[in-house]
Structures are given as C-alpha cells and as structure tokens.
Amino acid sequence: MPRRANPPSAALQGTEATPESLLSRASSGDREAFLEIYDRLAPRILGVIERILGGAGPSEQVLEEVFAELWNGARSFSGSGTSVAAWLTFRARIVALDRRSSGANPVSGTSRRRRESASASVTTGLPDAEAIRRIEQRRPLLAKVLGQLPREQLRALELVVFEGRSETEVADHLREPLAKVKAELRAAVRFLRHRRRAVVGSWAVNI
C-alpha cells in the first residue's frame, strides 16, 4: 500500500531548528534531536530509496541503516557546514543502488566500483545547508522544470539516477545508439543546470 507523504517543506524552510543544528545536539548524545531529524527527513529519503528498490521492507531497512550511520558519525559531521539532507540523500542513493545491484536487479559488475568512485567525489563537495535550503524553497518550480525535459532525455536520466546505469547500459537498455544517449544525457543536464541557476539564483525567470 503506497504511503505517499506530503513534503515537510516547513521543516526545512521555517525558523525552527535546522537539521544541522539538531545534528549538532545529537552529536552530544541528544537522541530526541536526532529523532526530530528523522521525523522531518525520513519521508523524503525513503521516497528516494523506494524509487530505487521498490518494496517497502527492504527500503525501510536501508532507511534505518542510513540514519544509524548518520547517528554514528554525528560528531565528525557536526560543524562541517554540509547539509544533512544532502548527505542523507546521496548516501541513501548509493546504499540503495548497491542493494539493488546485489539483489534481483543486477546492473553490472562494475557498477559498484563506479558508484564508489563517483560518491567519493560527491562527498568531498556536498552542498552546504544554505544551498539546499534555496533548492527546497523552490522545489515546486524545480519539479516543473523536470517536466519540461523531452521525454527521451528524462527517461535516460532516470535510468542513471534511479537504476544506477552507466550511459553504455542506458543505451543497451533503450536499444539506442550510444552517441544518441550520450547527447541526450548531456543535453538534459545542461538544461537542468541552466534552469537551476535561474530558479535558485538571484534573478527572476519565467519557466
């Protein structure tokens, strides 16, 4: 039974304690502060995991693991300036894709190594809390932008994001020439980059 949840936007945008300040308290052993982070962010993180893995049971296991990992690393994370939501999102994607690769939906033997390499790069430069807050404030507009992508580009991009496929694997899956898939993926990320800059940047734009 789907359990779609409303995005907890106020939690990320309001004047209440930020996930980062809650994590700072959690790093001193404040369990309630940590569970407040969970209450605010778990629906979004589980949404990502379920999109990758499907079923609720395995997805909730991954959700629990990722939050437990954050709790275990709270002391070293706290004060880094990195967004807690961003860390949870990237980490949940990696763990869910690894689980997917080792389960019934293997993509390729090299997928895990490739993702590890990429994730190492991601975590050296995760977005800071302010950047994520700007994105969250514009979430409806950004959703609209995704809907503006040509269907073929969006499909190719989703195979990369939620199935962890390489561009070669996307081409095989779609039975399209690799050159075409490469061009579609690059056109998609270029479009999204320009739109994101416009939407979360300091100038107004009609989309």
Binding site: N6, E60, S80, A120, P127, V161, V170, R190
Partner: protein
Amino acid sequence: MGCQHLEDEYELYLLGAFPGEAPGDLESHLRDDCPNCLQGLREAAESVYWLVQSADPVRPRPAVRLRLAARLDSAGSTSVRAAAEPVRGRDRTRPARKR
C-alpha cells in the same frame, strides 16, 4: 581555466554514469585538484540533489522509527566515542569534515 568543455560531464560523473574513467581529461583535472572542476562538481552536486530528490516522499511505517530509536539507545554510549575517532579507510561517503 580551460574547463568549459567538461561542464556537461560533472553531473553525469557524480551520478556514476561513466563505465570506466571519466571522459576527456576530467579525470586528470580531478587528480590535479583543478579548482574550476572542483567548483563545477560542487555546483553539479546541487543539481544531482535536486534530481535524486524528485522522487515522491513516502512515509515510513512507525515500526521503523521504533527500531531506529532502540538502535540509538543501544549504541548511544559508544556512538559518540566511535564518531570522535578518525574516519578510517576509503569510505568517504561517511560523514566527515568538509575540506
């Protein structure tokens, strides 16, 4: 300087879309800590966050929170000590100080 041709690769690199080494000279730019490419990757990570977060939120069952809370209780006294130790190994997806 000289990194504009790599702009379209940053998001795909972070998403792990390349089967082998990153295309062009992105790999060597990253090895050399090219400031433009590192800045490009930081910005690309915002796009990647947005993309991954395009999934619809799903409310976890209450049992998950209960299990997590029990886990915190049992790990509580050791977790802070463990977190204070230096991060070992190459798993850099664990929380770590920003460089």
